[in-house]
Amino acid sequence: MTIAHDDIRLDAGAPTTQTMTMAAALNLALADAIRDDPAVVVFGEDVGALGGVFRITDGLTERFGEERCFDTPLAESGIVGTAVGMAMNGMRPVVEMQFDAFALPAFEQVVSHVAKLGNRTRGAVRLPMVIRMPSGGGIGGVEHHCDSSEAYYAHTPGLTVVAPSTPQDAYSMLRAAIASPDPVIFIEPKKLYWTKGEVDTSQVAHLGTARIAREGTDVTVLAYAAMVPVALEAAEIAASEGRSVQVIDVRSLSPFDDQLVTAAVRATGRAVVVAEAPGYVSVAGEIQARVFERCFEYLEAPVRRVTGFDTPFAPPKLEHFYLPDADRILDAIDSLHWDDDEETR
């Protein structure tokens, strides 16, 4: 079972930038992490020979062997619970929950142990582990394949919860998550798995920071995961109508980058929060509250939210009604008490 360290080689001198899908970027991040650190192991359901139902672990078993990437019994609590034990004993497990809604059997392990063990032991035992969570809708999935469960995790003290929206962030943030001394819930927007972008593997991400995805001066749109490209689309349309929309990719749901967000909204004076999860008691609601508390004197209008409805996730043929789109974001922007708006004077 011991591993041959000779197998680990750094691709020194190789070009660090290439264009790839988010799925490929995640795959590359896992491969590079396994290559660089013998403590990194990847496991879950169907992550071996199949390469994961979304092919995120494609080729890892073949390249690195069964010891480094392996299939487990079909049991999510078992996957997360054994990862806790491995992390207690010097490993850096990266586990896959096949779909967000399938992660719920592991919820007790996540909340009672993953999130608390470091605190319980006064820092004597840290859990450097990553739980990858294919998340959200937009892929025409049937029931229990398209939930947005980030609020459960973001609500739990002790968990770092992040959600990339670009191939670059997918790579850099997953590397940072695996390198983190603490447990990370890594939300992967399924809808964006096949979107392409440039990935510079030398770029390092700092978990806990937001990112300005588009500069703008009139209004700040705060979005994360699959809603970032939708917000960018809305910003593009708004620009053609003469309105300058700033888009911030929140990307770190916990901890939250109050500093960047507060400065941004204070500068524009208007904000819309966009998320596809139901809005009630949500990450979007938390962001809205934080912006209100910190920016009230700077605001020209109430902070608005555009979210999924407070219904169970829609069946595939109805999901286009459920998911926020650019029009819904533009409508929210239009309602922000503009000076040229007769109705709101």
């Binding site: 078992g78 054994t82 603490d182």
Partner: protein, 376 residues
């Protein structure tokens, strides 16, 4: 792997629990499980006396308000003692909230083992120091941690064995199933040790399982199961020791069920007269693990009055130290609430600690102005 043949017959436990010493102290020879030698058993007896004294001292400290709660293992000390004695230096123990005596047996200071129950913090010892995981409260969850921990050791080629403890109630949990299944599939060096003390708070074993015994569940996972008289410390040492040896030799996990009894209520907050007859409790008191091993050792001239007195005096000293530690007021730092949540404190927690610190400072200032402290 060994050449052990995996058939249901070889995996099934015996019809009767393994017993090496009868309740009256007479030896019962066993073909498979050898009697531990007298020196080993005398060490176990010492640990039993100390464990009983710690249990009863901790229960008294609850009545005096120094501990918030204490789930006593009074009556189960043979299991507790054997669990700590069968492990080597490099091995790990994954205990539950009722396993304080086993935790202490691994070298954890008794007062540190009581920190959770005193309410000072959620765990009072560094797990890496004595190779004891924090005592788990959610049932069966720690069994999976034990499996993962041992899996990491196996991956690195270490010969660490992990002993995972749980009770009869925990065998109904999903994590019990997942832990045994994972351990079996990956041939992980874990020994699952169920202390069947007949009750999960008030619910009897008959409501947990319809299996012939809890050890019979092992066959469903393809691992050996065995039953042992949990009040016979010699038998528990022999059966657990055998399972630990097999795990270390690469023969994979096993499931051991000890038949014992929770002689006291679940905790001080429980009233066991509501759900069990006194006669049943009395019958088990007569099968006390201490009297059995004492009778055996005395009959074999391995325990004289002077030794007994010395052991009793040492146990008294441990109890006195525990009393003193828990009667002393501990100095708690409210900043600890924020200190360990993550490795680097988040800006949000910085803000919240600042708020609490200001609140405390204002409280101290107003106390200084109004020494009676009643003006607010």
């Amino acid at each position: 792997m060994s050449d052990r043949v995996l058939t249901p017959e070889t995996l099934l436990p015996r019809d009767e629990p393994v017993r090496l010493i009868a309740p009256d102290g007479t030896a019962e020879a066993d073909q498979h499980y050898p009697m531990p030698d007298l020196a080993h058993l005398r060490d176990a007896y010492r640990a039993l006396v100390e464990g009983r004294r710690i249990n009863d001292q901790a229960s008294a400290l609850v009545r005096q308000g120094r501990l918030a709660v204490y789930p006593s293992s009074h009556g189960q000390e043979a299991c507790q003692v054997a669990a700590s004695l069968v492990l080597g230096e490099r091995d790990w123990l994954f205990p539950t909230y009722r396993d304080s005596v086993a935790v202490i047996g691994r070298g954890v200071n008794p007062a540190d083992a009581m920190v959770l129950l005193a309410g000072d913090w959620h765990s009072g010892y560094d797990p890496t120091e004595h190779r004891v995981a924090p005592q788990a409260t959610p049932l069966a969850t720690q069994l999976l941690h034990a499996v993962g921990f041992a899996q990491a050791a196996k991956y690195r080629g270490e010969d660490t064995v992990v002993l995972a403890l749980c009770g009869d109630g925990a065998t109904s949990e999903g994590d019990f199933h997942e832990a045994l299944n994972f351990a079996a599939v990956f041939a992980i060096p874990v020994v699952f040790f169920v202390q069947n003390n007949e009750f999960a708070i008030s619910v009897p074993l008959s409501r947990q399982s319809a299996a012939p015994s809890l050890a019979h569940k092992a066959v469903g996972y393809g691992i050996p199961g065995q039953r042992v008289d949990g009040n016979d410390v010699a038998a528990v040492l022999s059966v657990l020791g055998d399972a630990v040896d097999r795990a270390r030799a690469g023969e994979g996990p096993s499931l051991i069920e000890a038949h014992t009894y929770r002689m006291q209520a679940h905790t001080n907050a429980d009233d066991d007269t509501r759900y069990r007859e006194r006669a049943e409790v009395q019958a088990w008191i007569e099968r006390d693990p201490l009297t059995r091993i004492r009778a055996y050792l005395t009959a074999h001239d391995a325990l004289d009055t002077a030794t007994e007195d010395r052991i009793a005096a040492d146990a008294e000293r441990i109890a006195a130290d525990l009393r003193a530690a828990l009667n002393a007021d501990t100095d708690l730092d409210p900043e600890d609430l924020f200190r360990f949540v993550t490795t680097d404190r988040t800006p949000q927690l910085d803000e919240q600690w600042q708020m609490l610190r200001d609140e405390i400072a204002r409280g101290a200032a107003s106390d200084a102005v109004s020494p009676t402290g009643g003006s607010r």
